[in-house]
Symmetry: C2
Subunit: 206 residues, 2 copies
């Protein structure tokens, strides 16, 4: 969602939400109790995929969803793939176990989860490699929301050095291109207190 | 997705996928290893929300997404709410613990999960009651994908008698209307082997 906003040059102010505390003020803004929350023109928007579709309809340039129905389907399929499947199998097992637990004070990483995440990321990188073998971008010949959904997951994992960039030259090249986009600057400037990013994280030549 | 297909009068043949076995033939059709899978015109479609958007674009009548961007956002927000949040907090805790475990032979229900699900469904029914207090349908003044997403979760829970229809007259009235739609017939005819539906399940006057 941040990448989509940045690509469309919609300026936003990022506010940290301590969503795990579940305070009443935050729950009033968003009854789902989740991040991200977008506030725009006095309205409050939640649920990442619904927000991205809305931004696409309200601010169609540059286009992040193709115009052909079949091609749009493929973008949305891959957005779900990365937001749900990749997130659940990889990001939740690696990032949440290693970082979020420490921030929220909810104990040590569960070794079995970290192991499952480390195994799953290989499968996912191979799947991306297969897609990029046949296409210029993940969902087809044009950059789309699918590339942003994938890059958002990978950048979070790269922050904790959990991506083996030697596994696929195609994936590495694709990520280098994503990283060099102006929309990516704010992601690369992220800094989680207590977890400084590794040297290569923001480096375009990694 | 079944409701969306039925509402648009697209005939499909339902095929049981024993997805939990993970056989190679099924994984070839759908690398995500999940249901539902739609086969149409020689193409294979996966990921429920991507399929519903595709059906909406290819077969726009009857319309299940409004035309105004703000109204479309609200439909999509609620589809995510029911597909993700409601499913995760309620359906996974009640239906998956009580029924799927038995079918897959993966042990007894975990009591803590069933308890969490029973608590969460009250919160969700109250939220639906609040929505329906202000609107004719869940997402606004027209029936939409949001109503189908919610009814799909509730019908599965009603099958195992886990919905307290006395909690909200507004929700009960709304569900009675949904049940009486021709699109709902196939859902009401569902029969899980070993788990016969209760008498009231298919009854329009429940």
């Amino acid at each position: 969602m941040r990448l989509s906003l940045a690509e469309k040059k919609i300026e936003v102010q990022l506010v940290e939400e301590r969503y795990w505390v579940g305070d009443a003020d935050f729950l009033r803004r968003n009854p789902a109790g989740k991040v991200p929350v977008l506030k725009m023109g006095g309205e409050i928007y939640t649920e990442s995929s619904a927000i991205c579709e809305y931004l696409e309809e309200r601010f169609p340039e540059p286009r992040l969803l193709p115009q052909d129905a079949q091609a749009r389907y493929e973008v949305r399929r891959l957005v779900s793939w990365f937001d749900d499947k990749f997130h659940h199998e990889v990001t939740a097992n690696l990032l949440y176990e290693r970082v979020n637990r420490k921030i929220h004070g909810s104990g040590y990483p569960v070794a079995a989860n970290v192991k499952a995440g480390a195994k799953a990321i290989k499968f996912h990188l191979d799947y991306m490699n297969w897609l990029l073998d046949n296409r210029r971008w993940l969902a087809g010949d044009e950059m789309s929301l699918a590339d942003f959904a994938a890059a958002a997951q990978l950048s979070a994992l790269d922050y904790i050095c959990d991506v083996d960039w030697n596994r696929s030259a195609a994936v590495k090249d694709w990520y280098a291109t994503m990283k060099s986009r102006p929309a990516f600057r704010s992601i690369l400037a992220d800094n989680v207190p207590g977890f400084p990013p590794p040297h290569h994280y923001a480096n375009l030549d990694f």
